[in-house]
Symmetry: C2
């Protein structure tokens, strides 16, 4: 409990900033670590969690790392009623010297701060939160799987905790961070993922919240996802508008790889127009494609002579269909923190299936090179800019 | 804990239906009832709450009415992460003989079931839930204020409680119902509410979820609401599209009342096209206007000779501005469970204020007649169809 500063008559005290130096650690009794082959994404609970509460007047509480356990909240809490809830997806890896590493964590923290601002949650210092997350990862480091393709998934979450029913911004909040060991997100990714293009239900729209990582962007997709599953598709490909523009795939960003006449390839992804999540794996994919084309790196399996031309521009189903018919589509993949890069094998649209090239190992040449390069950077095998960050 | 039925090999047992006859009541120590003048909407907690949990396999638990208190939930719970959370707003009143009454509660229950289905929550029998809510209201009846304009606000809520991070429909849920004594929603309603018309942020969209009462429809409005407040407006008037169609007002449905040359009036409200909440007060307002025009009832203060012609049709800001300039606008009001009917005094739009007629008492002749009629029906003073339902 923060002690209120004495203040001059009637003026409010300064609410306390988020301060990592105030961290209190309470160690838990350690759980047995289940075998990796039994892991289902997002189901395993580890030993500890990080919790920080914000109350009006007092501000951010002393951060606590404490035994993993339930949250206790008033039934009127804003998080249940009006959903000002935001989150991030990050991963921790074990580096070559056994050290825990994060991937571009500052970008996650800054996006989280933007998400919180979008739903009017109290502001916090992203740098301080990152210091605390590093502490949590060090304490939970025995949970980071060492197998390739595995990692410790990190879920920073902020929920509104104002305990009142009036429709208003939440003046109280709880930041909590939990972690869970994770293997490959899709069990059958080598077969490629099938997508059902859906335009009747709309995930996001201009002036909406699709450009932020808000919990509320996800529940409306559950029903379309169930319909897609019943029709034999793995995920929904979200369309927008009469021109049927492609936006996102389930919870991934969409990439189309097209052969060019000059032997190079075009790498096309929809633009960040506010309807699409500014994914970190999306940004990394674009940056690595450009680094490959500039000769700064060579994506594994992709000849250095083949340039990857990146395009952030609107992409319609009609265009994808036409390119596929012309035999110019090299591959389609989705990217995201949970999947890294996942191949797409077919897209159900306009009553037919657009069948896409899928290789034996699942990913095509570009997707596969991209996957290997990203994982090598994440696990500290290949240095690239300041993307891989050691928890120290 | 329900006992699983023995079943033939491998088949799942039938999950239990929601069953009001299994109700377990645990009485709380009673709190003192605070003075009515100190009430702030949605802040007072009463003695009891109703809770029912759904788990896959076992189904709905035995309903419990128990002391009001916090919910304890796993931090991975779907309600925090992906927001499959739905709610209703209802009110209980004390009737002429001291009996607790509800207003059109079946309609609330059916809308709640539709909301739950939209975010893929487990289904439940709305009739059974209504039986349980009546029991809760009887137990909490000492909390129903007896002053005119006051009531006991009821908040049925369903949250997704699946304790896992995979992006998927919640196969677990918690229905809970809390109540809170409420006075007039706006303190200064006699002055009329001011609205800022906002088109850059969009509340709802064709193919979106604005036609359902989902918690997630509300948080995106907090930031625009804060901006409106800073500019001196009480609420946001949500616009849609380039033609600037009016959709909703804060959390109310919008009504425009226009003088006709024949001495009658037009009552215009946007249509239920999926972007607008199908409000029960909206439906009641339309039905009472039609009943008045048909001579079945007479709205207090409205001559029986004046017909109210109802129109559910798109309404643009340009049209409202033009009608206002021509002096044809009689009044504008918002309707909803919390406010009943609230007068609108001005709308900030296109850099100016459209100033609307407001009477001394706030509401104009139609809004005022409508408010009186609805409150008289709600409190059982005037019978109308089967709208007022006694908790027995």
């Amino acid at each position: 409990m923060a002690i209120l500063n004495s203040t001059t008559n009637g003026t409010a005290p300064h609410p306390a900033e988020l301060d990592a130096s105030k961290l209190i650690v309470t160690k838990a009794e350690l759980k047995p670590i289940p075998p990796l082959e039994s892991l289902v994404f997002g189901e395993t609970k580890t030993d500890h969690m990080l919790v920080i509460n914000y109350a009006p007047g007092t501000g951010w509480s002393a951060p606590e790392i404490k035994p993993y356990g339930p949250l206790s909240l008033d039934p009127m809490s804003s998080c249940f009623q009006y959903c000002p809830n935001v989150f991030e997806g990050m991963k921790a890896y074990i580096g070559p010297n056994g050290e825990p590493r994060l991937f571009r964590p500052k970008d996650n923290m800054e996006r989280l701060a933007r998400s919180a601002a979008r739903v009017a949650l109290p502001p916090f210092d992203p740098k301080e939160l990152l210091v605390l997350i590093k502490e949590l990862i060090k304490i939970e480091s025995r949970w980071i799987p060492k197998l390739p393709g595995y990692s410790l998934y990190i879920r920073p979450t902020i929920i509104g905790t104002r305990p009142a029913l009036g429709v208003a911004a939440s003046d109280s909040a709880c930041i909590y961070v939990i972690v869970t060991p994770a293997g490959p997100y899709f069990r059958d990714a080598t077969k490629g993922i099938s997508l059902l293009a859906v335009g009747e239900s709309v995930r996001s729209w201009p002036g909406g919240t699709g450009g932020h990582k808000l919990g509320l962007n996800y529940a409306p997709g559950f029903l379309p996802q169930r319909i897609a599953s019943k029709q034999g598709y793995d995920q929904v490909l979200w369309l927008l508008g009469e021109e049927e523009r492609v936006t996102e795939v389930g919870a991934m960003n969409f990439f189309l790889v097209v052969k060019r006449e000059d032997g190079d390839v075009d790498l096309i992804t929809p633009p960040l127009d506010g309807t699409i999540l500014p994914g970190l794996t999306r940004a990394s994919t674009l940056a690595l494609a450009e680094a490959h084309s500039a000769g700064k790196i060579t994506l594994p399996g992709v000849p250095a002579s083949v340039k990857l031309h990146t395009h952030e521009r609107p992409l319609t189903m009609r265009e994808i269909d036409a390119l596929s018919t012309e035999g110019r589509v090299l591959e389609v993949f989705g990217v995201g923190t949970a999947v890294v890069v996942a191949p797409v094998s077919r897209i159900g649209w306009a009553g037919k299936d657009i069948v896409l090239p899928v290789q034996k190992q699942g990913l095509g040449p570009i997707g596969s090179g991209m996957w290997k390069m990203i994982v090598d950077i994440q696990t500290g095998k290949v240095p690239f800019e300041d993307w891989s960050v050691v928890c120290d």
